[in-house]
Symmetry: none
Subunit: 192 residues, 4 copies
């Protein structure tokens, strides 16, 4: 769970000087406090979705990322502290591939990209180019996180490429190794 010590682009960085934002975990939904600092999670970092209430709703993966960095504090509905480890445990119960997905999410966020769900495109994540925010332009990549010890068939490989091609995005495979490092391969169908 080593956080990579990379320099992040200014606009992505969360001011850690401030006190952590209070958030409440309710099953697989996390809601922030109602504050300007919380809303900046969405307006600056494009975490979560903005609620009518003025709070921000975060996914488990986003919450884990922010919790590990100390940017949010998580409590249960009965106001008990949910630390990072407990959060991972809870999330893994709900989402079997959580850890693999989390590590890839974290690594990409740490490199200064905004990464969001790509369910409707047929992939785990979509990633926007540096400096681009969702809505301003299309995502550049779709990303599939896999675990190093898994294997793949060429049919699956071909399917991922077809998805990327049909959504006009580049295909990125992020392979998580046993040391929680991610190796990326960009793949493109070609007719030489």
């Amino acid at each position: 769970m080593q956080i990579k010590k990379r320099k992040l682009p200014k606009t992505q960085e969360i001011k850690l000087a401030k006190a952590p934002i209070k958030t409440v975990l309710s099953q697989n939904i996390v809601t922030t406090e109602n504050s300007d600092q919380a809303r900046e999670l969405y307006t600056q970092g494009r975490y979560g979705v903005m609620l009518n209430s003025g709070k921000v709703q975060l996914s488990l993966i986003e919450t884990a990322y922010l919790a590990e960095r100390g940017a949010v504090d998580v409590v249960s509905e009965s106001n008990r502290k949910v630390d990072f480890e407990k959060l991972i445990k809870k999330a893994t119960k709900l989402e079997p591939n959580f850890w693999t997905r989390y590590c890839v999410f974290k690594d990409i966020r740490n490199r200064g990209y905004i990464i969001k769900t790509a369910l409707k495109f047929g992939a785990d994540f979509r990633v926007y180019d540096r400096g681009v925010k969702p809505g301003e332009d299309h995502a550049k990549w779709i990303v599939y996180p896999v675990q190093e010890a898994s294997s793949l068939t060429w049919y699956e490989f071909s399917a991922k490429n077809r998805v990327a091609h049909s959504t006009k995005k580049r295909l990125l495979i992020g392979v998580l190794d046993a040391e929680n490092d991610v190796t990326y391969w960009e793949i493109k169908w070609t007719r030489p």
Copy 2:
């Protein structure tokens, strides 16, 4: 929780010009005031069930939907206001998957369909075709709401299909993503 700004068919639309209908939450049951406006929830929109008392009893999901649109005001038995957020919290304690189910309910209602519980059919929801009201004709679909990062065995998949087949309804899976959007797939058992 952004409400999608779709145009709803006239008959489905709740006249928001009117004052919100008073409702009382008691555990997981919500009862409306005794008024013509309340009864229209049932007669026009097919929300809830009509009680002998002339009041309408709403489910938590229906209440949340109406509360988010400003069509009802909810108070506790001790007459304390229960706003939308509090309602979601209470509901999630009673039904862990409430949020996923709520988002799918809302999305389908917003598209102009009447959606009701399908417990007795073995599913979460049943959905009537546009313009059809419960009692006039059979429901067209049964709907299972799931969360994007969950996973599924083929046994579970098969069970859902069996239920749909045996109740002569179409099977709809509604997958909720982290941006609260729902993607639908219609599935049918086939012997090619």
Copy 3:
């Protein structure tokens, strides 16, 4: 390995009255004898590809199917008999998912359809409508064979649908159970 005793449409049926066609297995390639009967495998049943030599090259799956029906006899390059069981063993060494894929292939062929590889479309198989031969018209379905005890994520599910949509084919999942029966589900993305 029970062969289903379904009546096959006339045009698909291989005249079993004739003696089996001689074929030679060389690694994962099978080549038939040079005879009219062998060429009918291709011209009538659309098995394999036609070679310049006038022989037909069959895939392991096609060969296993024809061998199980007694339509071909297989020998090794050193002219030793390779019976059905041995063939399955050899094939499984080369292609880990062979048995699952084989059972789905067999079941679909038995139902009177022509089924071919769909690697370039991003799926295992493509299937032509009854009476349609490759080249005459497009395939109707893409088919993914899976094993009942495996599980799937909604991202994978979405990817399969995206592939089907972008190739303008219908999506068929064939789930193989422990009794070698295949259950099919046709899935389509929908916006209700």
Copy 4:
């Protein structure tokens, strides 16, 4: 084994009007006759290596390619004719994946590229850009031919990438399907 009817760039094309060149197969080595026409195989098409004797030594794969096109005639050391089919059989005994490798070799050659062994780089083949001949410039790709139904671990995938990266070439995977068509994917290791 349908040869694709693509137009080849002039410089690659072998003048088929001429009589086939005589070659002798001895185990896995093929040697041409001593003639200007034979030497053109090397000087024009970069097939094989030039021997001091003035003959050209061809690999099995090159020989099969030229034999299938009618550019060479092959005889055994005892002067018996070895036709294309027999050549493939002999080659497959020596190299189990010969057919897969052959089909990819042929497809790339047919597209107008010079393709040579890459054993010393740690891959099956290296491919030069169009118009480039070995010695003039470095090869552009290394190519791994695989069979569609095989499967792959991420470790193997990573190894192929490492080889490409360390030899400063692009990585191309050529996947052969049951219809002898090859689909290509170019892969590159990336740090996004």
